[in-house]
């Protein structure tokens, strides 16, 4: 009897202990609707918004120098239906905070918003070109990489002008950040888009202090366009200039990072335009090292189809197809020459990413030349060969000479 009672007591105490532990609560639990899901960020030079000025006039504020303005794009949750808001209703909300530190600015939002920033769904980070010219990339992205709640697949873009404009959109029913991300998926339609540069890809570029390209966007009247690329100079980590859309396209051709796109050239006989559509592009890059001098042999091979022609040539005539190939090669060579002049002579920065090939082919020598690689690149001889093969001309039955 006594033993039974004791065992009951033991059971009771054990049960109480279990319950007490379980009732301490669920730590680190945060329901999804209580989070301020943030899908984009923009960094501009410090310029306080009207709201902030009003707040400060009423006594809000702290010691700061207003170096940067950070804009977050937060999702506005509407209960009406699953995410798709009513027509005309804004689905997002951009919050700008000016401070010297990006982290401080982020925490400042917790004072004004019931749902603090939740960064695991970042889609894009847009940097204004002025900020990129002024600050080293390593310092600029320190916060975004150091922060635990960040998404490494987040896309990094440069915006000419105010970066926060890129996070706005005329059509309020969609998310501007998502639009920017989705445009990079269109690489199979245009060769003027740089392969997406995510935070995780950016990190090694910054750390190895090599020069690289970032996709540039421009904004006008609530719309955006992917326009060329920004050149980040390795040694300083700052933006030194822009490449035009055509230069960017040439770089993509050279490194064969093309999934599709079109190439317009002019027929030398009639002067009318011919459109060559790229279906595949390959390139072989072979570096040579003689002492300190570097040279490259590049073979670019492309296959494609005749997409459109205004030259009234006969599609079934092999001579005409040959002529198109030649015109296209001429066009490519012309454009690549222009691009090489710009990166080698003007910017003196290896924006093409040829350093990778040298590192792979000459790993020992690379250790000594990597310090001044951009200068070596500027002096390097780049020989290239272009082969174009027009395989077909699509569905057509027009025979002009009949």
């Amino acid at each position: 009897m006594i033993r039974q009672w004791q065992s009951w007591r033991v059971t009771w105490i054990g049960g109480m202990l279990v319950i007490l532990i379980l009732l301490t609560g669920c730590w680190s639990r945060k329901e999804i609707e209580d989070l301020g899901i943030t899908i984009g960020a923009a960094v501009d030079l410090g310029k306080e918004t009207q709201l902030e000025q009003d707040f400060e006039r009423k006594g809000g504020g702290y010691t700061k120098r207003n170096a940067l303005t950070l804009t977050y794009q937060m999702v506005q949750l509407s209960q009406s239906d699953g995410g798709a808001g009513r027509a005309g209703e804004k689905k997002y909300r951009n919050i700008s905070v000016t401070s010297d530190s990006l982290y401080e600015a982020t925490r400042e939002i917790a004072l004004m918003n019931d749902r603090p920033i939740f960064g695991q769904h970042y889609k894009v980070i847009v940097i204004s070109d002025e900020v990129a010219r002024k600050y080293n990339m390593q310092l600029l992205f320190d916060f975004f990489i150091r922060e635990q709640e960040f998404r490494p697949s987040c896309l990094v873009l440069i915006c000419k002008g105010e970066a926060r404009n890129a996070l706005d959109m005329k059509d309020k029913s969609d998310f501007p950040s998502m639009r920017l991300l989705s445009i990079t998926d269109n690489q199979y339609r245009s060769s003027r888009i740089l392969p997406p540069m995510s935070l995780s890809k950016l990190l090694p570029e910054i750390n190895s202090s090599s020069s690289f390209l970032l996709q540039n966007i421009i904004t006008a009247d609530g719309e955006v366009k992917f326009a060329g690329a920004a050149v980040i100079y390795g040694k300083t980590g700052k933006l030194i200039g822009f490449l035009s859309e055509e230069d960017l396209e040439s770089i993509n051709w050279m490194t064969a990072k093309v999934k599709g796109g079109v190439l317009k050239s002019y027929d030398s006989r009639s002067g009318k335009s011919i459109l060559y559509e790229i279906t595949s592009m390959k390139s072989r890059i072979r570096p040579h090292l003689e002492g300190k001098r570097v040279s490259f042999d590049i073979v670019i091979e492309s296959e494609g189809r005749l997409g459109e022609q205004w030259a009234t040539g006969d599609d079934f005539d092999n001579q005409f197809i040959k002529r198109i190939e030649e015109e296209t090669i001429k066009q490519i060579r012309h454009r690549i020459d222009k691009m090489l002049h710009r990166v080698q002579k003007e910017y003196r920065a290896d924006a093409i990413g040829l350093s990778e090939y040298v590192r792979i082919y000459y790993p020992r020598a690379w250790q000594t030349i990597k310090k001044d690689w951009d200068d070596s690149f500027a002096e390097a001889t780049i020989r290239y060969q272009v082969k174009v093969n027009v395989k077909e001309f699509g569905t057509t039955s027009i025979n002009v000479h009949e």
């Binding site: 033991v10 202990l17 669920c26 999804i32 609707e33 699953g82 769904h121």
Partner: protein, 548 residues
Amino acid sequence: MWNTFVSYLPNGSVLLQAFLVVAIPYTLSRIMSQTKSRTEDKSVQDNTEQQPAQPDFIGNLDNDLDRVKTHFMNETDLNIRSFHLGHTKQRAAIVFFNGISDRDLIDTHILKSLMGDLAARDDQSRYACTTAYTMQYLLNHVLSIGIVREVARLSDLSTELLRGHTAFMLDHSDGVVIVLGTRKEITRSAGEPSSEILVRGPRLGFNESICDNTTLLRQHGEKANLTITELRVGQRVTKELAIAYIKDIADESLVQEVQARIERINLDDVQDTGYIEQLIEDNFLSPFPQIQSTERLDRVISALMEGRVAILLDGTPFVLTVPTTFNMLLQSPEDYYERWIPGTLVRILRYFAAFVSTFGPSLYISFISFHQGLIPTKLALSIAATRVGVPFPSLIEVLIMEIALEILREAGLRLPKPIGQTIGIVGGLVIGEAAVQAGIVSPLMVIVVAVTAISSFAIPQYNAGIALRILRFMAMIFAAIFGLYGVVLFFLLLCSHLSKLISFGVPYISPAAPYRLQDWKDFVVRAPFKLMKRRPKMMNTKNTIRKK
């Protein structure tokens, strides 16, 4: 010096936590070992009854009948019919209970043979004969009854009478009473079992009569070498129990173990095989059923052919098969009746359903409350939007719906069939829709609960489904405390428990945990019969070849 020493000591809360980490598992294990030892104590039996030397029956009819009468003093339905044998003066009597014995049989084959036929046969020669009929003569020449048994003890006689047999007593006999098999059984015809329905396969299930059930087993094939050992269980209400196995396949030590465990049952009344299951299983604290119970004949037959042992009990259509492994609970006889490709696909689907029914809601909780970054952005936004008005954290939300669903399921079970369907519509559609409209739960939650419920119905064995349902709630609590980490912890806990579990000497998750690749042919996949040439190795069968 002292201060430096003190600074290295952990503070109170750390010490408390350390104490709890040690104390809780210790106390739990103590409690469990105590309960275990108590049950084992009980199983030690001292069942040695003293047999009195005095015989109960002396051969004098009046005296013997008096003994029977006094024994059944209070039974009003005891029927004693005394008569004379044929034309002789020799007295005899039959004793039986009204109702449970077959009156037709008694009238036509006992009374008529002993009185009318005997009289007609010995009309002239025996009329004045003074020598009495011997019991042996009557059995050999007169009584046309199939089942006949001699009893000498009153207690034996009384059980036989209560089972519906008839006692035949003769004056001037040698103190032996003959029991004639006149038992009448109220049985149901063997129909399709309602709890386990197949599209293809035999429509035959067991019924409540052990006689019919063993008949069904015997009927299955001619050269099966089926052995059926009969035992008695129950102290106060004794019932017939049969152990069936195939002599040249089943492991002898297994049969002995089953027999020994059944003999250890000291319950006064065993109502169903469920009682036996709980009394002979290895681990009574585990949520998993360690013994398969089924109404289907083909399930039992296939288990027997794998070298398992079946336990049949009088009065229940549910037959136990031991040992049971976890994969048996997720298999259906149909896997073998259909071709191997659909069989395999359906089986894989069932494993997936088992996983969903256990971990569905807990994964929902951990994604919604802890790991929002793991949900694709667009989905996260739509989930967040649907949850904006919901006042509860996800655990409470899931608990509300899950408990509502369990109540619904239980209610639907109790109701008559036609109303049961209405309950499904009212409960499922109306409550689900209304709860979403009222903003108590989010629509996605309803989907998760519904998918979980459907998955749990896909498990062919009802008791396995219940086990997974219980575990689902535990997984939900783990998820609510630690998120995905908790779910993983719970899964590991479950795995360690399962790998420790043993059913009659065979590890519970057998082909998986003691790794036997040969048995995997009939585990997650159902290999074509051309490949399944041997019986499962884990059963340690005498004869291993299934197909040449």
